[in-house]
Amino acid sequence: MGTILIVTEIQGGKIREASQELVAIASGLGGDVKSVVIGSGVGDLASEFASKGGGETYVADDAALANYSVDAYNKVIRAAAETSGADLILVSNTPQGWDVAPRLAAGLDAGFVSDCFSIAADGDGYQFKRRVFNGKLDAELSSSGGTVVATVQPGATEPAEGGAAGSTTDLSVDLSGARAKFVELKAAEATGVDLTKADIIVSGGRGVGDPEKFPEVIQPLADVLGGAMGASRPVVDAGWLPHPYQVGSSGQVVSPKLYIACGISGAIQHLVGMKGSNYIVAINKDPDAPIFEVADIGVVADLFEIVPALTEAISAAKGG
């Protein structure tokens, strides 16, 4: 077993929980675990991570690294990779991870696998499992030796704190030549639609078919339940509903008491946004839709048969 390098990520002034998930994977695989922490004024965070399973933790601490930027961070991670001699480099599959990890892999002429939910040792290399076809099928991939960069699906693994105490080492990297520049962060627009507060959400997906069907079919069910209407990403991409209705990793992450998904296939980024719901009902014509994997109750039927009938039945039950 070789050396594993964990690339941590800082969010909101703290190391993300996803980085602790990488510790769980690394310690499960065995071998020598090292880490890298990148930012400005992050010495304490690095020491803490080293004590929680980060192993020998490289610290790249520089004002120029205060905000993520692809060229600068790539230079640092590359330096950490080369210094550590790691044959497996783990990165969380976040907007930062998917931005830099493939560049790192190409620069190292290494193998690359993204969004894994499972990694196992396999002879000289590793075996990886991930979803393909927008969540409809699973895939097993393998590397046969040599360095591999793997991004890991956040939330697919329980975070853990590794055993042995680590140490920190300063990593000084020449950042001149970094071309991409961070300009600013723009906060999400504040809108009146806060799905995170709704007890019941009725969401529509691409299966709803056209924009008028949202106010005609989906909204009435939400209304009669006293809930809110939501949507999957393709609906918003198509301009049928504005972004505030989007449920998913790049929209709102919700956990209502009841989530009813209508005509939503269940791509990963949508599931991330609603799988924490207390009770999930999925209605979809396609029996293979990935949404049925997280649903408590599945209805394989035409939503235009079920939803209006359900709306009417609820209305009658309420005496309306």
Binding site: L225, S250, V300, I306
Partner: protein
Amino acid sequence: MKVMVCLKQVPHQDAKLDISGDETWIKEDNVKFEINSYDTYALEEALQIKDADAETEVVVVSIGPDRVTQALRTALGMGADRAVHINDADADASDTLGAAKVLAAVAKEESPDLVFTGLMADDTNFSALPPMLAELIDVPSATGVLTTELTDGNLRVERELEGGEREVADLPTPALAAVQTGANQVRYASLKGIMQAKKKPVDVKTAVDLGLEGQVGAGAAKVKIDRIYSPPKAEGAEILEGATGDVVNSLLAKIKELGLL
């Protein structure tokens, strides 16, 4: 101004997927193909730059077998000027890094000011190719791009982060953007566009033409797909069947049970 747009032709999003005999991919025989949805947004972004400056040349590039010609003609019909088709079994059998090497070789010949492509492909969902390509041609890159603003020598982008937050970054050109879905509203090819597309050039090349003999293909791949399979069904999902009335009654009972009525 030259914008190179990398497209991938993928099985239609609603295609029924049957696993192939060797279980390493899906059966392609009766599958309808389309341009990867993410790439259509990348192409639209390039065409909007061309709308603003008619001197812009938009070159679309794709790796794949004969059927890819259809995707390239569609892109030409939407307004792209020229196409390059890498029609080579080796290039097609490459892993992502191999595909990136092929596209990097095309980029070296084309010397574009901008390279646009989709964030990921609807089939593999690897989201690896764009940053790899950028690294190989040594240009700054950004993924999950929702807006682009081109000024003299600079591409300002907004990258999608989590929860609706965005990061604004400046990329000195030449630069690469991996575009996210919903970045714009993708145009349809007009009838006139489709007719004109028939006369636009489609250059067909192989890996050997690009000087990549032996460097791409299954043999050079560092990572391979061993198996594709249906995910094991979660135990929990109770599937309701039968007449609409019965299904609705069961749902109603459940909602009452949850105390939500």
